[in-house]
């Protein structure tokens, strides 16, 4: 029979749980415990960033912060399951090791310095144009058209979205910086 929970456990146990092994020992916190994802602000369906199986993930967000990432039971590919890396996605996204500010190393310097994102974009654009101009090849030595530069090399892509790959290929081709490569060949 229900025993008023405000009584101290030692009294509660006399009423209905003499050995004190079950409800009598339960605290208010335990009674009102709930899963932290129940009151998440929103749930988003996503895909694991690690390997190419493409497991479905559910991302729970509260106060604009990812509080949990677990498998997406709707996915016909993974049926709600994840591997250790996929299960660690929340720890990846919230890893203390993650850097969130732009850093710059001056030529010859022995340490980083912080610069703004805008400044970095401008400096990189300058260098891109300068290097492109310096190493531009309009034609080969027999006059065949090249209109390219091999002075700039881009590496990366397999961890990027297809849309990102598309814009990178589009822009770098237009710029003649055709040497772009990614892990597909690694």
């Amino acid at each position: 029979m229900a025993v008023p929970q405000r009584l101290p456990p030692v009294v509660r146990q006399l009423a209905s749980d003499r050995l004190g092994l079950a409800r009598a020992a339960q605290t208010k916190r335990s009674r009102q415990l709930k899963a932290r994802i129940v009151d998440a602000d929103r749930v988003v369906q996503s895909i694991c960033p690690y390997c190419a199986v493409g497991c479905g993930q559910r991302v729970y967000v509260k106060d604009e912060r990812v509080i949990q990432i677990e498998g997406d039971p709707d996915s016909p590919v993974s049926r709600g399951r994840l591997c250790p890396k996929g299960a660690a996605s929340e720890a990846l996204v919230n890893s203390p090791k993650r850097e969130s500010r732009v850093k710059y190393r001056r030529a010859g310097s022995s340490d980083w310095e912080y610069i703004s994102l805008e400044q970095a974009t401008d400096m990189i654009a300058e260098r891109f144009i300068k290097s492109r101009r310096e190493s531009w090849e309009q034609e080969d030595d027999e006059g065949h058209p090249l209109h390219r530069t091999l002075g700039i090399h881009f590496l990366g892509g397999a961890t990027l979205d297809s849309e990102e790959n598309y814009l990178i290929k589009k822009f770098f081709c237009a710029a003649g910086a055709l040497s772009i490569e990614n892990q597909a060949r690694i």
Binding site: P8, P9, V10, Q13, L19, G20, L21, A24
Partner: protein, 313 residues
């Protein structure tokens, strides 16, 4: 060696299969305070008994000193227990419930009761207050002293540690004789020889009982007695034996005539009692962390058909 499935773990001399020779059980997390508490708890419990009986016999000098010893032990014991806790500030949670299935829960309530009795007696002895209450507190304290000196044996016996659990029938007697020995020895130190005859008898008797009960325990334990004889536990065992024998001899020869000799004997006997508690504690730790000690006997029991049916083919 991960290559094969574990060879180093042994039981009764032959190899036992284990998981990379990893222990099955966890090492008890208790630290130095606990074996020390076993000692002070026994000392306090038996001293209260001695004091009450001495009072009944009219030996006020011995009684007062024994009560003081009991009160001192009753004061030290809780501080030891609380400091050993992972979260000392939550020590009152010990009284959150009364669980008959937990010797530590029962023990905590006993300790509180005995503590208040001793405190009452001591308060009365120093200030004369609460005389009527003292009349009840004294015998109650003495009676509570009995379980206080032995529940600690029940506590360690009621664990999965083979060296403790298999000794569950003898350990209480070892702890009881240890407690008696401590009380006697303490009284030898605090009480002039003229009034300390009971203490001398108690100490000598307790030494004998302690030796006998320990031997009986180790004999009945058979292979499980190994942890008591090996490593640090073994060394502590020898230290106990030496100090007890020396203490008893000194007490027997000159205990009656010279208070100094009696005190010397008493302190050696006290040291012996403490060493015994440390030996028992240490043996438990060594027993828990040796996979052969846990798997061997269980596998043998299963092979003999005396297992409890954990596995079904």
């Amino acid at each position: 060696m991960s290559v094969d499935d574990g060879r180093a773990a042994t039981w009764e001399g032959n190899p036992v299969r284990s998981y990379h020779e990893q222990p099955v059980l966890k090492k008890p997390i208790w630290t130095w305070e606990i074996p020390t508490y076993f000692f002070t708890g026994g000392l306090g419990g038996a001293s209260a008994g001695l004091a009450q009986l001495a009072e009944l016999q009219g030996n006020g000098v011995l009684a007062r000193r024994a009560w003081t010893t009991a009160a001192a032990a009753a004061a030290v014991s809780p501080t030891l227990l609380i400091s050993d806790l992972g979260r000392p500030k939550r020590f009152l949670n010990m009284l959150r419930m009364f669980k008959v299935s937990s010797p530590m829960s029962v023990g905590s309530w006993i300790l509180v009761a005995a503590g208040t009795c001793n405190a009452t007696v001591t308060l009365n002895a120093w200030t004369g207050a609460l005389p009527r209450l003292r009349q009840i507190a004294a015998p109650a304290g003495a009676l509570l002293g009995l379980p206080m000196s032995t529940y600690t044996a029940a506590l360690v016996a009621n664990t999965a540690v083979p060296a403790w659990h298999e000794a569950r029938r003898e350990l209480p007697f070892v702890f009881a004789s240890g407690a008696a020995l401590s009380a006697g020895a303490a009284a030898l130190i605090t009480t002039p020889p003229a009034y300390a005859a009971p203490a001398r008898r108690l100490a000598l008797g307790a030494v004998v009982c302690e030796m006998v009960s320990s031997m009986m325990m180790e004999h009945r334990l058979g292979e499980h007695a190994r942890p008591y004889k090996e490593g640090l536990a073994g060394k502590l065992g020898w230290a106990r034996r030496l100090s007890m024998v020396a203490g008893a001899a000194m007490l027997h020869r000159r205990g009656e005539s010279s208070h100094l000799a009696a005190a010397g004997a008493g302190s050696m006997l006290l040291a012996g009692a403490l060493a015994k508690r440390w030996q028992v504690f240490r043996a438990g730790v060594q027993s828990a962390t040796d996979p052969g000690n846990v798997i061997g006997p269980q596998r043998a029991a299963v092979e003999r058909g005396e297992g409890h049916g954990a596995v079904r083919r």
